[in-house]
Symmetry: C2
């Protein structure tokens, strides 16, 4: 029975039952974490062979003779470029391999644009007065935090089923010169799981922006992270931008944080040769080079891009059942009640859950009190403010399956309780 169709008495009984179950959970003294998109230990174990794949001095020489132990190689070693270029669909010259964190590369890129401008001719953004950024949401809280930290005003843009609301983006970008960029997680988006449609990618490539120094930040964090045997397909934005005559409009980012090690992977940026050469001209002041031995470990461990694709199937075997646990629980416990919507993604790390308006904070708080930490309600919106207090990001990858069963059950119970409270308050 739909909760909205219940009488006050039925609702009260429903709430009491939920409350009783919730109190039982509290008594268990759980300590579980579904807050962040962290790989599980089982996933991390998959890569153990990489630790010793570079095992002596001779192993440290890359295919072109580069001694990875010494200085140099600002934009990455040859074998790592060969491995990762096909992942982003770019050439070796369009790729820069960096340290262990793509977030760091994105942050640094914005910092450079603020201090130096997006190319040699442009004004540094710090001299452009108030600047603004388009933020499809729900989105990735750490993207939003970068903007907030730099004082860049964020404009929320709704995420639709095939990508962000392009009508709105086209209108805003065409009108306002102070809008300098947009965050995109184009494949298995954080947290909605949406993969941008071909039409959305093409509209991005064709986007007319009032600001000549507008940049699309294309964070392709989950491009390898499929949950099914029929993966989504994403059009190559750089190719589309080239066709549209604006190859410099996009900068792409990715990492192996969830392919090898979140604490010891390799991150990268990719863009037009023009953009890459400009960024390298600034980076050469910042560092002599990133950790080349770790780049080599990756290249040797996977052998080829195809090797990496094969490896990701092992991740799928571990991750997909965890998504299943949460989705099955929601289907069984919540779907019949008509009190929420959620995504069933084909990849990525998250389930995006929309509770009844005004219930997200209460649900997260109930879960926390019972020992299950979720991503803070609101985190998926700029400034941490979800106008509807509805969206919750569920990250099912980290806990072991048996704990996840409990956590999902608690979550469903909290959703029931908060929804009943909400409906009763209006009766």
């Amino acid at each position: 029975m739909m909760l909205s169709e219940m009488s006050k008495e039925e609702l009260l009984a429903f709430k009491d039952e939920a409350k009783k179950k919730y109190d039982d959970f509290k008594a268990k003294g759980l300590t579980l974490n579904m807050a962040r998109g962290k790989p599980s230990s089982e996933q991390l174990d998959l890569t153990f062979g990489m630790l010793t794949v570079v095992k002596d001095s001779e192993d440290c020489i890359d295919e072109d003779g580069t001694d990875c132990r010494n200085y140099g190689g600002l934009d990455g070693i040859s074998s790592a470029k060969k491995l990762f270029a096909p992942m982003l669909g770019v050439s070796s010259e369009e790729l820069v391999i960096c340290g262990n964190s793509s977030l760091n590369v994105m942050y640094d890129t914005i910092a450079k644009y603020l201090l130096f401008g997006v190319d040699k001719e442009s004004k540094p953004w710090r001299d452009c007065g108030k600047i603004k950024w388009l933020c499809p949401c729900p989105g990735y809280d750490r993207h939003f935090l970068i903007c907030e930290s730099f004082g860049i005003e964020m404009i929320p843009v709704p995420m639709l089923n095939d990508g962000p609301d392009m009508d709105m983006i086209e209108k805003l970008a065409a009108e306002d010169e102070s809008i300098k960029g947009i965050w995109c997680v184009p494949m298995y988006a954080n947290p909605t799981g949406v993969t941008y449609s071909d039409e959305v990618v093409r509209r991005f490539a064709a986007l007319k922006t009032k600001a000549a120094d507008f940049r699309i930040f294309w964070d392709n964090a989950y491009c390898m992270h499929h949950l099914t045997d029929t993966p989504d397909r994403l059009l190559n934005i750089l190719d589309e931008c080239k066709k549209a005559g604006c190859p410099d409009k996009v900068v792409m980012f990715a990492s192996t944080s969830k392919i090898t090690y979140a604490g010891g992977g390799v991150a990268m940026a990719a863009a037009s040769v023009n953009n890459v050469n400009y960024l390298k001209s600034l980076m050469t002041v910042q560092t002599i080079g990133f950790d080349k031995i770790n780049q080599l470990r990756h290249a040797k461990f996977f052998g080829s891009f195809e090797g990496m694709i094969e490896h990701m199937k092992k991740h799928k075997e571990i991750v997909a059942p965890r998504f299943r646990v949460v989705l099955d629980t929601l289907d069984k416990e919540i779907a019949p009640l008509g009190i929420a919507r959620w995504t069933k993604p084909n990849g990525g790390y998250f389930i995006s859950f929309d509770a009844m308006e005004g219930c997200a904070k209460r649900i997260v708080s109930l879960c926390k009190e019972a020992g299950v930490v979720l991503t803070g309600a609101g985190a998926t919106f700029p400034y941490g403010k979800d106008p509807k207090d509805s969206n919750i990001r569920i990250a099912p990858t980290y806990p072991p399956v048996e704990e996840l069963v409990l956590a999902a059950d608690l979550f469903a119970t909290a959703v029931k309780l908060a929804s009943a409270e909400k409906l009763l308050a209006n009766k």
Copy 2:
């Protein structure tokens, strides 16, 4: 015989002889590099055991239970902090362990001060109008390049035998609010090899600056790099600043680039808890954490700070003979001629060579034509401009000894030739 005492005829004969020897060198077709302070392959081989010291999944758990393979640990893992805190003479809370490049950490720190200020209360430097920086020189070209890149005006300060000219620094810093900082390589300075005296360190700690947001950038790159059994000793600047009541005035930097791997080491910053907490509050937006597995490799390989000290003795055995080759050649070939001065450092990576005024560019160019690349003349001064065109940085560590013998001999020949040309031009 001193070259200055020679008659024109004697000089001409001297020059002809030098020219003949130089042409012989050219005919050899050498390709050697003494441009950068790079460790040699023999040095890099010393660390090969580190590659496999973290060899399976269980090894990735740090002493406090942290799984180094996963996200987290912004300021570094516990065991790495224990290893490196004594190297910089700080507590664990005063230390942040970062990626592989201390240059990157210094660059980022200045970028953050430009965008956010040196603490929560201060104005971002970008809003302070023209800002300036004190640059002891000869100094490290990459330090100067950071300032140049950010548009920070550099004021050269002469290096004396016990550190930079403190009289000048005290006068300038007290007068000019736009002076926001100074570069220091306090131990075995790049390139002079000078270690700052206790008095100089104490004067830095007591430095009165017109700018309240003045910061000393204390790049202790060579603190472990002794060339003798009786190492220099450097006073702890942070301790002295605490005694002087200004613990926030200094930020220290170091790395293992020349201890383990230049292409895969670990870098760090150290400062007062106040400074460290502020930097961490900004860094947490930039990254979730640096490469913890590589930090763990370092901690396990060395075991303790004492282990690292022992390890550095092996470096000394490899590096000291290379310095000896160059110094012996200079003592034999150049000293009797009275045409140059050079340093005989107790540690570090460089010999600083002062040719007759107006000769440095010519010497570097002669060497280059004969196949030996030196650091560009002028590189050791802000904007690459040595007002006397005299200083040359010699980096003897990288070439094998037998090649170094040749390179040093060529260098001495080029010095003779350029000096004779110079003296003849004035006859």
